[in-house]
Amino acid sequence: MDRVVNDFTINIATANGTGSQSANLILLQTLYDMGIPVSGKNLFPSNISGLPTWYIVRVSDRGYQAPGDKTHIQVLVNPATWDEDLAVLEPGSVVIWNTDSKMEMNRTDVVSYPVPMTKIARGLNPKLARMIANVVYVGVIAELIGIDQNVLEGSIAKQFGGKAKAIELNSEAARLGRSYCAEELTISDPYTLEAREKKEGGFFVEGNDAVALGSVFGGVQLLSWYPITPSSSLAEGVIEWLPRLRTHEGKATYAVIQAEDELAAAGMIIGAGWAGARGMTATSGPGISLMQEFIGLAYFAEIPCVFWDVNRVGPSTGLPTRTQQGDLTMLYEGSHGDTQHIVFIPGTVEECFEFGWRIFDASERYQTPVFGLSDLDLGMNRWSCHGFKYPDQPMDRGKVLLTKEQMDSIENYGRYRDVDGDGIPYRTLPGSGLDPILYRGTGHDEDGTYSEKPDVYYKLMQRLKRKIENARDDLPAPIMRDEVEEDIGIVFYGSLENSIVEIDDILEEITGKKVSTCRVRALPLHSEVQGFVERHNTVIILEINRDAQLYGIMRKEFPNHLLNKMHSVAYSDGMPPRASLYAERIMDVLKEVGF
């Protein structure tokens, strides 16, 4: 039997609230510390305790981070999904199963490793048996695929941060799992690990925590938020880091308010922006839906404020704990009437940090609400990170007049007068004593006075359009990888970054061609995105939604001669994107256009 080294997927089926998440994170961290490229996906229910949860660990020397197409090693602990999990396994898969679950192993074509996980755990500590049983399966896996016990115990120590009793108990559970595997099981599977050289300085971090840190380094002055999955950990990250990083003489240089709802959260950050401070909120699609009216106010009255949307599956309450790119259009054109908003779209945890601070600069420079679009996959899973780069430019506070001299230097000042011809007016702040106005969401002239005059309204809307249009090439440029053929190009965004290499490889294998890629990182679209489309013969716009939202934006904004070469592949089922599934759909389109 040929050994399969560093190329397999482990699926662990448990119930939530049983402590399995800690065990799974220990496994993930251990693999990472062995220098093995690994990714973990937590598929959890919208529930506190008792419903099915799966954790998928993908080990891939090629660096593939998408969940694998199939499971190679299945851990079965949860009776509720037992039969279902078992049924989908391919012949020859490994099944590590808890014999204390009172469930049958009814497949004879798999490699079966029965383990009395609960019994082993009970022998160690009867009270905590249910939780420790999870670490027993980690021990079994460790022995099976060849994880070094010292590295494993290192990550157990990390997970239980200094709690000696917990560390000892869990280490012992892992050891017992190991010895059970070594002494009682006859090993007949090919899956094995080889340690690789660990990249110096790397660490695991969730996208939400990276955005949180970026926000703190971006000088957030007010965080107002309302709890919602999957963005709560973003706000809680900000709340955790602020006291450590942002006090002065023992006092806060920031304010945090947990609002009564998303409307109030939006109102508060608009109030902060109006007053001259950097306000942000973190929410998900349902929250953005609730904030629509305020988004229009901030756009029309030109108030800086920052919204992070950690996208979950819509519409409505949807699948609250699953991932999607379904909010793009809503962010770009949020609120009634004609609007257009700047959207930052990170695809990696490094970018989560970078855009976390950069987004405030854009919002204050353009005096407009700006959105960050992340998603559950990027936000709530742990990703390998190469480090965060300290902001390479000072904070851009935009055109704010702070002194009388500055005010006097401007000829014919008006809050909404386009003095510089770039669509961005100057502003004064409340309390400054400089040229006050009554801000409003109603129509207004260049001085901010109420007006219903046709030409005043028309000119105002044209200026707002120009202001946002001008931002295009000032926003993060797309990351492009052009192949010499310039034949097929894929335009995509966000967390699809983590599947694109594998998708590419699959496509190359099938078509024999190398495929170019262009990852969009902001809206409105950078001019280089159009350039990418222009120089490729066939362009696929790939996204995790049903309605081809980016494709729709490109069709609306790009010139007619480009429309025929653009094709949409939009697919969403709630799962993090599996490479083969998206590649297959891309192939369908390529076949249709004659490849």
């Binding site: 380094f217 942002r246 009564e260 409307l263 508060m268 007053a275 965060f388």
Partner: protein
Amino acid sequence: MSEKPVKVIKLNVINEPKDSYTGGKSSLCPGCGHDQVSSVIVNAAWENGVEPHRIAKMSGIGCSSKTPAYYLGQSHGFNTVHGRMPSVTTGANVVNKDLTYLGVSGDGDSASIGIGQLIHAIRRNVNMVYIIENNGVYGLTKGQYSATADIGSKKKKGTTNETQPIDLCALAVNLGCSFVARSFSGSKKQLTAIIRAAISHKGFALIDVISPCVTFNNNDESLRSYGYVKDNQAELHSVGYIPHFSPLEQVEVPAGSYRDITLHDGSTMRLETISAEHDISDPVAALAALHKADTEKKHVMGLLYFDGDKPALDDDLDLHDTPIVEMGEDLLRPSVAQLDDVIAVLRG
């Protein structure tokens, strides 16, 4: 040759004429109660000697919410969206705690669409004055009942209101609001004293002002018409205000019994007993007074409830003395070394 008469311009304690506190021309109906409130706001701010540019005038949507354009032309303001002025003010307040926040709302804005935000602003004790210009009807949409319309009251058009009203003062008392008063747009002296005291108070000051709608709800069958309110007031006490810059000992002592309340900025609110003393520190007494007036179809007037010791939101947040909005990059962006520390923590 006759001398021209010299026009004497009266200045306030910071040497500002009243003109510094006035605003644009009102577009409300002639005789609207809201215009009376606007003129009282101008007087109160001027008499208190607040620097006009240190006031922030906030509002939502509705007839009342248009009024910030008619007073305090030297103050920044924000005419926000319907029922959401409390959240916008909360956000502004915590980043710039040193401004005087003066919110004006209506009964539609506060008792219906915005009641949630009002409740939570009270709960947080946001340091602001919150004036409700309460007339029982929606004006801009042409006279529908609001949620404060009294049972048995009939507006100019339509049927008698039979739906239980929401009493915003009772609501505020129940929520532990630190300053709850009711007044009448026609009682200029009382309203001025109450607004002046509210400006001096640290915390959420709710002032429910009955402000008749001359167009849709000023008929004889209405319990919120000028005539009815004027004749059916249940005054808790007469209210006086003595600013901190005008020493108490120089103020004439009233003949009857009275109670002085020291406000946050050192000013004094003097409540003179009319018949029996109303205990402003007792929420049950406040609710009893509201209930009694209600059963008698009267409107309570005066300071219903007061708690000068309740910490305001900006106290709770442990903020630095310097308003957050005035801080620069040196305080807002952590250092390179701090980022290194963070990364060390993440590496574990």
